[in-house]
Point group: C2
Chain length 358, copies 2
């Protein structure tokens, strides 16, 4: 079943719009040729771009937390979304081999509530403190009825741009070109949903429970709070790996498109595949939502993170050392499988597979 049909979002149109925006953007790269800020792209479709400033190789990445913010509006808890915001951009930078340094954020609100702004920014500050990032700029815009959301309190949309430097032990961004058949695939456990796939989640829960779905019990908590679970940020782990001279052959941030699309992006240039027989299992809320939405694994692994927020491919000989570093940093990690030459991503636990050419 197509993503379009299930989520209410037209993924094909979204891709066409993004492609057009990128085509037009590429036409401007010549404006900085030989100057500060020259584009140093190696592959199309990398989520963070590299810019040359003198001797410095700067990565830049923009993203927002999408409709996850509705969970804050429903629960009244605003001080965790900063983790989601930083995760989206810091982990995209990390996937390119960049060490996130600074984040600039934009809050578009209908009207302002001091306490909510304070809570949002306190969360972002805490996330930045944990990841050695500084908040180097920001903007709060009051846009009145151009912004909507749930309930009567202040509503806002929150996006950001982060910049970082290419890790000193890298000569070029991680783009999959270093991948080899036989590489180990290390999986990093997610804490729950990150900041994508919420359109389908909300639609499913509203159909099942009506407008107040967030107050339904789920295990020992409420649905609203379970879904608000903040994103784990993996960039400090990737930085530590590279600091220890363990250079991943690729780093895959599992966002919209799931393991299927995001892993494909790095595997396809060398027509590689992967056998994943030991991934983390999906969180129970993900299984519950699959049941309620009547979607199968083939769809869900293309849509949600299914328990695995980041994959790291690396030489088999370095896998144990990488796991040790993860453990020291309190990340749950394990060897989830290996890269092969099949051109197919096979997820054994879920009994599904994806052609990387798609």
């Amino acid at each position: 079943m197509s993503g379009k049909k299930k989520s209410g979002v037209d993924i094909d149109l979204g891709n066409r719009c993004s492609k057009r925006a990128y085509e037009l953007s590429k036409l401007t790269f010549k404006n900085r040729e030989g100057k500060s800020g020259a584009a140093m792209m190696s592959v199309d479709g990398l989520f963070s771009n590299m810019l040359q400033f003198g001797e410095e190789r700067i990565g830049i990445s923009s993203d927002g937390i999408g409709t996850k913010i509705e969970l804050a509006e429903r629960t009244g808890i605003y001080n965790t979304l900063g983790y989601d915001l930083l995760a989206m951009v810091a982990d995209d930078l990390a996937a390119g081999g960049f060490v996130p340094a600074n984040i600039s954020n934009i809050i578009d609100a209908d009207f302002l509530d001091y306490e909510i702004i304070d809570a949002l920014m306190t969360g972002l500050k805490n996330a930045c403190d944990e990841c050695s990032v500084s908040i180097s700029g920001g903007e709060i815009a009051e846009l009145g009825p151009r912004i909507g959301g749930y309930g009567d309190n202040m509503h806002c949309n929150w996006s950001s741009t982060a910049i970082g430097v290419l890790h000193k032990n890298l000569t070029s961004p991680l783009d999959g070109s270093a991948l080899n058949s036989g590489d180990a695939v290390l999986a990093l456990k997610s804490d729950g949903f990150r900041s994508n796939g919420f359109s389908l989640i909300r639609k499913t829960l509203e159909n099942r429970y009506g407008d107040y779905w967030h107050t339904e019990k789920f295990e020992n908590s409420l649905l609203g709070e379970v879904l608000l679970t903040p994103s784990r940020i993996y960039s400090p782990f990737i930085t530590s790996l590279m600091d220890s001279e363990i250079i991943p052959t690729s780093v895959i941030h599992i966002t919209g498109g799931g393991i299927a699309d995001n892993f494909s992006r790095v595997l396809k240039s060398k027509k590689l595949g992967a056998d994943l027989n030991n991934l983390f299992e999906p969180h129970s809320i993900m299984n519950e939502l699959m049941n309620l939405a009547s979607i199968d694994n083939q769809f869900s692994y293309r849509y949600w993170n299914m328990g695995n927020g980041m994959l790291v491919t690396l030489n088999q000989s370095e896998a144990e050392k990488a796991l040790k570093i993860a453990d020291q940093m309190n990340y749950s990690a394990k060897i989830a499988g290996s890269v092969n030459s099949s051109g197919i991503i096979s997820i054994q636990n879920a009994g599904v597979s994806y052609n990387v050419e798609e």
Copy 2:
């Protein structure tokens, strides 16, 4: 009359929220001390912040076009807003002495329309081509009913973050510390409203003409098109000045807060003032809106650009040469007055003055 009362936007609350966000941001600066991306702030309240990456001094600035986008929804013209978007961030960077290099943009839409995305991005591309900037990243997010606007077509909010390098002929960002009594004030003419002050504009016109105010005739055009007039981008002029070793003592981008607030920001540290007796006159649409809104000059020069989109202070001996460069680049510029030690900004044309301590 207070800005709060007239515009429907609570300026005091906005300032308190921005102040709190900045306080929390400053607490994170320590996270990058001695590392790439270390904050190198010289004054609080500068709109663009400087970050140290190796030998490179990078400026970063975030902003959006606010509710000006409603004019595109009303007129169906989407390919000029890119100038407004680039102007907001490039000219904030220029005000700090940075040469804008790259822009990353975020489009938050309710749903997508390929033609509108194409027009928006084409406008941004054209603006970037004129200003030697590259579009180095972007994100298009579909947020459904979290986004609203005028009419039935796709609605979106558009924001961006730009980065640039401190001009090679500067040792530190322009922050007003180089200002001296006696400096010439050069004014750069605006082409109309930029991307601020639109809440009051829309409210005023709706009160007067009803919902279809954009279709009213104004001079030889329609109100909607007059108000959509794209922002002139001044950063290429500031770069050219510095390339010619004319180093301004300050550069003031006239955005929200008008000449009063924005000029005060750089004048106040040395308790200087300015006598402005030869500014560009307000555009006729600004006079018309002042009449319709029943606001006086005291208010309007604190709110709109009133015909002057940027002020540049510089040594009197360099003023003529600066005017010549402006003329060569097709900017309308003139000497509008001079800096003095009064602590007061006096706008002779309009018969108003402002205490810079406010």
